[in-house]
């Protein structure tokens, strides 16, 4: 099964590059505790999924690069070419001269329709190279214009052109402040439109990744490259081959499908967050040992206390004694993070010994789903990306409720003051459309609040 990746805008292209780079370096890393045969199959499955092999053996990504200005795409292409391990399909890129100027409406209403045919043609060419198209993986940011506006438009086109394929949108959530001033408008427009056409939204918050870089990775002067590497690591930990059931004899060839099947069957709950453990600098990694019990205990508390990383977890948060405890009010501080569904992915040594009973606790989940429906476990003895043991938790839960509420609140105030609205009406997004967007998002917030 193969996944076609679409990298959009500056952020999408930069993250996409790091993602492929980490997949490749992981493929070439020592297999750790898995057998040679298993490792070979691991490589085959990964390659099939994200690359096609040229006759000379070079790995070429199944990716389409899109940006409205040329600098980032050309730099990304050349960086990949220099890596020696993999490269992009040079013909599978599209860039223009002039960016979308941070304007979602410009990307969605102008550039999107204008370049739809060419870009969809590039996508089709990649799709035709797949024996089996598993789905599309779109990497974009919410803040800017190209990634968010054009990305949203292309997602709609993909949905129309490939109605049965799976669409996963990797969305980079902007820093709370300081990236783009109109980011809240762009974000709500992106989210509300993606909710209509995408199957699942996998969200990475820049603020949190930034904290991971500074507090866990111990990086002093954090660059976007560092941030993107952490995101790529987390993405890789989901998509690298894994056994999706106890009885499975082979690595799962359809992780995208299985991921969606266990996390986002409900159309009102499509937001996925990601937590992983451990995460540290290479230097401290050399001096650390881990055991599964400890890792999973931390991961569980990170989940229920809504901690974004293993440092600073609030250990006082406990699951409510009664599963149908009174509904938490949104404006109140959310103490306990209720989940719709969780997926744990364990990779590394002695993975068979890990016990995940803590994740099958009914109070962790919404009362209308039993833990058997709501919790899924994948694992593999093969270590991932230098970590002897590592655990990733993909969670469909209330964890995004607060940032979402924040963004909608700020955008609402700005909208009520009519600030910047003229920049959008100029390209055809009128106040009516804004109101509809607000309605959609309030609905999402309400759905997650009333779990």
């Amino acid at each position: 099964m193969s996944v076609v990746t679409v990298q959009l805008g500056q952020c999408g292209n930069q993250v996409g590059y790091e993602f492929f780079d980490i997949l490749c370096s992981d493929l070439h890393s020592k297999p750790g505790h898995s057998t040679k045969r298993e490792n070979d199959y691991y490589q085959t499955v990964c390659k099939e999924q994200f690359f096609h092999e040229e006759e000379c053996g070079d790995l070429v990504t199944r990716a389409v690069l899109v940006d409205m200005e040329p600098k980032v795409v050309s730099k990304t292409l050349s960086m990949a070419g220099r890596s020696g391990k993999w490269k992009y399909d040079i013909s599978s890129q599209f860039s223009q001269k002039q960016g979308c100027g941070n304007n979602w409406a410009n990307g969605y209403c102008v550039h999107g329709p204008k370049h739809q045919d060419i870009v969809m043609d590039l996508v089709r060419k990649q799709v035709e190279k797949c024996d089996r198209l598993g789905g599309f993986f779109t990497i974009m940011s919410m803040a800017g214009g190209t990634g968010s506006g054009m990305g949203t438009f292309l997602t709609r086109c993909l949905r129309d052109a490939y109605p049965d394929s799976l669409l996963l949108n990797q969305v980079i959530w902007p820093y709370g402040t300081g990236e783009v001033i109109v980011q809240n408008y762009n974000s709500i427009l992106t989210l509300s439109h993606l909710y209509r056409s995408s199957d699942a939204l996998l969200v990475h918050e820049n603020d949190i990744i930034h904290k991971v870089c500074s507090q866990l990775m111990n990086i002093k002067q954090i660059s976007f490259r560092d941030v993107n590497k952490v995101i790529a690591h987390q993405l890789g930990s989901i998509f690298q081959p894994v056994y999706t059931s106890e009885e499975a004899l082979h690595y799962c060839r359809n992780p995208l499908g299985e991921l969606m099947e266990c996390l986002v069957p409900h159309p009102e709950y499509k937001m996925l967050g990601l937590r992983n453990i451990p995460q540290m600098s290479e230097h401290s990694l050399a001096y650390s040992t881990f055991n599964w019990n400890g890792l999973l205990k931390h991961l569980r508390q990170m989940l229920i206390a809504n901690a974004k990383m293993e440092e600073g977890i609030n250990w006082h948060v406990r699951p409510p004694s009664q599963p149908t405890a009174e509904k938490t009010s949104l404006r109140k501080e959310l103490q306990f993070n209720t989940s719709v569904a969780n997926l744990a992915i364990l990779r590394g040594k002695d993975v068979q010994t890990a016990s995940l009973e803590g994740f099958r606790d009914p109070p962790l989940y919404t009362p209308w789903l039993s833990p058997d429906d709501a919790f899924t476990l994948w694992k593999t003895p093969r270590a991932f990306n230098k970590y002897e043991k590592s655990a990733t938790l993909v969670s469909n839960s209330q964890f995004l409720l607060k940032p979402l509420d924040n963004i909608v609140g700020k955008a609402w105030n700005m909208f009520a003051s009519k600030a910047y609205v003229h920049q959008y009406t100029k390209f055809g997004i009128d106040e009516e459309e804004f109101l509809e967007t607000f309605t959609t998002l309030e609905q999402i917030i309400a759905s997650y609040t009333n779990l």
């Binding site: 600098k71 002039q98 990236e179 001033i181 976007f224 309400a446």
Partner: protein, 472 residues
Amino acid sequence: MTQSIVVQVGQCGNQIGCRFWDLALREHASVNKKGIFDEALCSFFRNVDTRAEAGGADAQRGKICSLKARAVLIDMEEGVVNEILQGPLRDLFDSKQLITDVSGSGNNWAVGHKLYGGQYREHIVENLRRTAEQCDCLQCFFVIHSMGGGTGSGLGTFVLNVLEEEFPEVYRFVTSVYPSAEDDVITSPYNSVLAMKELTEHADCVLPIENQALVDIVNKINQMANTGKLGNVKSNSLLTSNKGGIKENEKPFDAMNNIVANLLLNLTSSARFEGSLNMDLNEISMNLVPFPQLHYLTSSLTPLYTLADVNVPTRRLDQMFSDAFSKDHQLIRADPKHSLYLACALMVRGNVQISDLRRNIERLKPFLQFVSWNQEGWKTGLCSVPPVGHSHSLLALANNTCVKPTFIELRDRFSKLYRKKAHLHHYMQVDGMEQHCFTEAISSLSSLIEEYSQLDASKGIHVSYPPRLNII
């Protein structure tokens, strides 16, 4: 990549333009060592093979043959333009890019706008067209002019109108030099206010610059550089310096004009060079202009010079951010810290990472007041190529109500003259100029001031917004 065209109008506009081209060449020369005509160069220059046809067809890529500026030079006197044509930059321009007259505008906006406007319209349009056709993706016009004189303010704003009519899709950024209070042109308040109305209505962004502020900055730099207390100042790092440029001997206004030229270079750096967080020109108006008319952006440049020792401690990097918000570094005489921010952009060049940016935003935020609906009104850009002579630099652009006092002062000076009807007849003599032009101009300025005042009034008051939509 996109291209931009510089339209320099009047004496002041051409002098600044001249410094801009000199410094732009210097900057590209320091980045582009191989002498290849690259994308970055393409944004302001054409590569012309002069040996080919007489027309000089563009030699697209490859080795630099002969660079031509994407510029239109307009002046109604010949002095400054002739000087440029005889100076070291003469090869940058050919005669087709020039529009000159001999008689000048006599410090009269009406002469520039109405008389010469009508007279030269065809010529100007043709000239702009030709220059625009030499671009494959024209993004922006940079108009450089002064507000006080006749040609710059009158014809400059006329050109702005022409641009809007002929090239509605292309952005119009205007760098306007405002006269000092003790300006020797007596009609400068009239000219400025009449020009202001045009700027408010037809520009996408205006970067107001005050002569007096430039003078203050130059004095400050000279003082710092000459006392030598801070150690050696690195040569050609002075924001006012010509060093490394083609023209080494400085003229009186060169120091001031270099500052404005640097402003334009930094403004366009992220669009020309690569970086980890690009900031295209169209992002500036998108992020900084919340309401169509409020597009006056105050600017500040730091550092003004770099010390010779190479180590850059974090402290000094942070100082750069602090300076950008101080009164002394603004290019107009205003204090943004004590006024209300609508939005703010930080365009950083050089070896600065996102964490440095974030740290400084967090540090500075408590001291700045932002309008209630835009508490996080920060836009940032990271360009990896530093300016010549520096390891890093910062251009802060702010949409801040601190421009209001400048406008009020202008209005007062205008009213003082207008009450006495002084010099009005000079204007009324010009065809097409009527009394209502003055009243409309002053009411346009007043309503602009009023808009800023209303925003100012919301400062510090808790604003209540309509309740959010409720899902039942």
